[in-house]
């Protein structure tokens, strides 16, 4: 049990409420002020998972949603039951932390362009998997989504690939490829975990900007579960990839001295001194 208690040092215990408050404040601001079809409510969860480990990350995610649901003034809505998803996101973030995914990897020349190519290729493979998914197949009259959805998938895939490639080359940091993969995988898992919750508890509708996507998919003839899953495959990988890059930039901006004080700090600090 030593590995577990190490995840909950006083510094981590202090970081957790701040991380939860960041989740709620940024998520609330992005969803209500900017009104975007993404969530941005996992920055703190991923931060704690990467810095402290999977259990601390999962607990941060679960408590974020439960407290948000019950918080006076800003509570309500449908956020509470998605605590399961938030817990899984935190768990995965802890795994990425152990694997050192968020460690800066300064590179140049062939290594840098190779990493950019790998990052772009992985994003395109993920987009291709979504493009060819049976969820989106078929004629609208028999339960498919219609051809418009393919154009959106291609558009999002190209923009994401350019963003990842640009990030790696401009920052001269090969870690961008790993961060993109971690974000995309986290997003896909989050979409799979969220779909049954949204479909079963709320009829596939959650009252946020993503309902427009659900409506479009329903219009194409998708059933309640597939519409939720389809919406999740649109929003979650984008949301979690953006969140992963935000967390990476935050971590790269912190000094090695600060990072090293957290349980997984040494796995992240690496060559952070280069920044």
């Amino acid at each position: 049990m030593d590995w577990l208690s190490r995840q909950f040092s006083t510094r981590v215990i202090v970081l957790m409420p701040i991380a939860i408050a960041i989740n709620i404040a940024v998520g609330y601001t992005v969803q209500t002020v900017l009104k975007l079809p993404i969530y941005m409510d996992s920055i703190g969860t991923i931060l704690v998972g990467v810095l402290a480990g999977p259990i601390a990350g999962a607990l941060t995610g679960i408590l974020s949603n439960l407290i948000w649901q019950y918080a006076p003034g800003i509570g309500g809505g449908t956020i509470g039951p998605f605590a399961v998803t938030a817990g899984v996101i935190g768990l995965l973030a802890g795994l990425w932390g152990y694997l050192g995914v968020y460690r800066p990897r300064p590179a140049s020349g062939t290594q840098l362009y190779g990493a950019a190519l790998v990052g772009v290729a992985i994003i395109l493979v993920l987009a291709w998997r979504i493009y060819t998914s049976p969820v989106y197949g078929g004629d609208p009259s028999t339960g498919g989504y219609g051809s418009g959805v393919y154009l959106v998938i291609v558009g999002i895939g190209v923009v994401a690939a350019l963003a990842v490639g640009g990030f790696i080359i401009l920052r001269r940091d090969a870690a961008g490829a790993w961060v993109a993969v971690a974000g995309a995988v986290t997003g896909i898992v989050a979409a799979i975990v969220s779909a049954p919750i949204a479909a079963y508890l709320f009829g596939g509708v959650t009252g946020s900007g993503v309902d427009l996507i659900v409506a479009a998919l329903r219009q194409g003839g998708a059933d309640v579960f597939n519409a939720s899953l389809g919406q999740g495959f649109f929003s979650d990988p984008i949301d979690k990839t953006i969140t992963s890059f935000v967390v990476y930039i935050v971590l790269a901006s912190l000094s090695t001295r600060v990072l090293a004080r957290f349980p997984l700090g040494e796995r992240i600090a690496g060559s952070a001194a280069a920044y």
């Binding site: 510094r11 215990i13 404040a25 992005v30 002020v33 900017l34 607990l59 006076p72 998708a222």
Partner: protein, 283 residues
Amino acid sequence: MAELEAPAAPSAPSDGSTAISGRLPDFVARPPTGPYRRLNPTTKLVIAFAEALVAFGVRGWTGPLVVLGVILAGAVTARIGRALLPYLLATIPLVASILLINTFLYPGATDRIVTVGPLAPTWTGLVAATQATLRVVAFAMSVALLGLTTQPDHLIADLERRGAGRRVMFVVGATLRMIPRMIERAGEITEAQRARALDTEGRVWRRARGVVPLAGPLVFGALTDVEELTMALEARGFTAPTRRTVLRVFPDSGWERGARWALFLGSIVVLILSIAGRLEFLP
């Protein structure tokens, strides 16, 4: 250990709607009177948990309607009927979304109510939408009832007295205190960035560009507080291995303990029966 209750505010009427209560949190201006409010904080938490479980677990009309009836009874007993109204109004965007999408776009439904151009609402969709709406409203009201009748500090103190982890309770308590500060800080940052020409009302792309200028200062500002708070906690013996002395003990009678356990276990049994399909005879 003396049993303590929250101090009653002077001259607050039963519905808590004084000029003062418009400024202060509801529980400050409201005396802790009435049978519902006098329940132990953990009992009220278990009631909210059971209500949520039944509202979502028992499909059809029965689950949400029974829960709404229980909530109404609790609200009348606690005299917070009017205070529940803002929470009810807050569900309108979600309810509107559920009603519109399900009524007009319910997959596979063919029993049209009326056909107006491309729009064809269906009875199947309307029934599913109404049931989903009742579930969401019941859930929201159960949360509101707990929030309006229970002071968070009391709930945390009671849970800690029952052996809930000190660290988890600290995280919950500190978060509840921090959220209003953080929301306030986010608002200040938003205003400051708007003054620097950040567009929060334009097209999606323009709004998306606002994420970093908003989230960056908020996150970095909060992270700078970690070291200071860690030192403060360590200086106050937060990691001391000894058990903390309990300052407040809330009344918890034998019948209340029994009722709480019965409610907790009963709601889980109902959920299991519902999943097993043994409650399908209910409407």
